[in-house]
Amino acid sequence: MSEEKKEHKKEEFEPKIVGFLCNWCSYAGADLAGTSRIQYPPNVRIIRVMCSGSVDSMYILRALLEGADGVFVGGCHPGDCHYIDGNYKARRRMVLLNSILETLGLEKERVWLRWISASEGQKFADTMRDMTDAIKKLGPNPIAKHWNI
């Protein structure tokens, strides 16, 4: 990273968000946002997964321990899951993850679970904007500077 860029980083904190999007709904929603040329902050790094229910909380924990400022999980609306009930299970996992995040001392607002359908390009863009703003308010992930973990 050049010195110039580092300077810029100090001026305004740009959060890094890892996004796990389900193949059938949220990823298509993100795709629609793109093809419709809807603008949204570029802070999210998208990883396509087959189902929100396939996101082991381990991967979320790993992203956070490696220094991601936020993690987004997008799934189909309740009742619309391509695999019938993956999103309901994802929701239960999120409840469990929250008790571990509490131990880790991280705000649970750093991990978002939202339902975005393939037709909701606008909602995807809006959600990304909201999340980026929310994480900016929370500030950088305090774990990022810890090397002894």
Partner: protein, 373 residues
């Protein structure tokens, strides 16, 4: 259900229980027994699978739990349910673990007769093996129990000190110590039809009244509950990355805790798999991101990841802590997290075989605050 007693001769509690167990084996109602017995060196008592009643000299109440008996039952029955009746003599925490393993399809309970023993607590394996007190371990334990002093308290493992429930639940037969005058008699209770059939065939003496038992059980449960609450209050503040990083500082990523844990059953653990293998540049980049990074890395990720996978079924047996080569007091973190997470799902591991584990069921209109606001 049926309540019986066995008379204790010459103040020899262990001997009398042994006689009862031999009786069980000889009756033919039970073909083999899994029970802990001292090794020839007498340093430890290990679970043994025993078919010959003459060779049975078990140490049922010896305060040691070197390996998870739930895991042993799983190992025996996972591929094929037992064709013969096995009586498994277990600590209450291990019965809870066995119920969880059965729910996870890791053990078949057909032909398994669970014989639960009231737990008076256990020592860490090394404390037991190198016991410097003049009395023998079991003697001290029983003396402390009958005289109701806390001589033994300082030797107990943390998990036992703040035990969730030292009285067996879900056992077919219970060998009861609380509420009986162990110098004279030990209680034998049948809690299921299977247990009743076996007990009735043995021609034991009937118990006169079990009010004492009920009272003593209530008392010990309350006492342990109180200690557990104090413990939760005291340890509940190990939170935040600073404290957690300090706490796990000595972790060398050996994964012994996972091997000892009865709940961790995965044939190939994610953390032993190639998921975390990466190209050299990724390791170098990690160092570049933070300036430096501790190696081997990912020890906290392992601990939290394991916690995330097993905490809802955690029966708080503390075998993880006993297995740690660097003596990290794992229960200090795992008990508070287990308490919170299990409360969230109103789930009590090991309580009911029919209750499904929380991660495989769901309701459509629950936890709506977690997904969409």
């Amino acid at each position: 259900m049926s309540h019986k007693i066995i008379k204790v001769k010459d103040n020899d509690v262990v001997g009398s229980i042994n006689e009862f167990l031999r009786h069980l084996l000889e009756s033919g109602k039970i073909h083999e027994l899994l029970v802990q017995q001292s090794t020839p060196s007498k340093k430890v008592a290990f679970p043994v699978l025993i078919s010959d009643a003459k060779k049975l000299h078990s140490d049922v109440i010896a305060p040691i739990i070197p390996a998870s008996t739930a895991k042993i039952v799983s190992k025996i029955t996972k591929i094929q349910g037992s064709p013969k009746t096995i009586g498994v003599v277990m600590h209450p925490c291990q019965i809870r673990a066995l119920i969880e393993l059965a729910k996870l399809n890791q053990a078949k309970l057909d032909n398994i007769v669970i014989i639960g023993v009231d737990c008076l607590g256990t020592f860490p394996i090394n404390t037991y093996a190198d016991f410097h007190v003049k009395k023998k371990q079991t003697e001290l334990l029983l003396e402390s129990f009958t005289k109701k002093n806390d001589e033994v308290e300082k030797h107990l493992r943390t998990a036992c000190r703040v035990c969730k429930d030292p009285i067996p639940t879900n056992a077919d037969i219970v060998i009861g110590l609380y509420g009986s005058d162990v110098e004279k008699e030990v209680l034998i209770e049948a809690h299921t039809e299977i247990g009743k059939n076996i007990i009735e065939s043995l021609k034991l003496e009937d118990e006169k009244d079990n009010k004492n038992r009920e009272k003593a059980v209530k008392e010990i449960r309350e006492e342990k509950q109180k200690k557990r609450e104090e413990f939760l209050k005291e340890k509940g503040d190990i939170k935040g990355i600073e404290k957690l990083a300090d706490f796990f500082d000595k972790c060398v990523n050996c994964h012994n805790c996972r091997h000892a844990c009865p709940i961790c059953y995965c044939r190939e653990c994610l953390f032993d798999s190639s998921v975390f293998d990466a190209e050299a540049y990724k390791f170098l980049r990690k160092a570049e991101n933070k300036g430096l990074v501790k190696m081997p890395n990912d020890s906290l990720l392992f601990q939290l990841g394991r916690m995330n996978h097993m905490i809802l079924s955690c029966v708080e047996c503390g075998l993880c802590e006993q297995a740690c080569p660097n003596e990290i007091p794992l229960m200090d973190v795992f008990i508070p997290v287990a308490e919170n997470a299990q409360k969230e799902f109103e789930y009590n591991p090991g309580k009911d075989l029919k209750e499904k584990i929380p991660m495989i069921v769901y309701k459509e209109d629950e936890f709506t605050e977690v997904g969409e606001k």
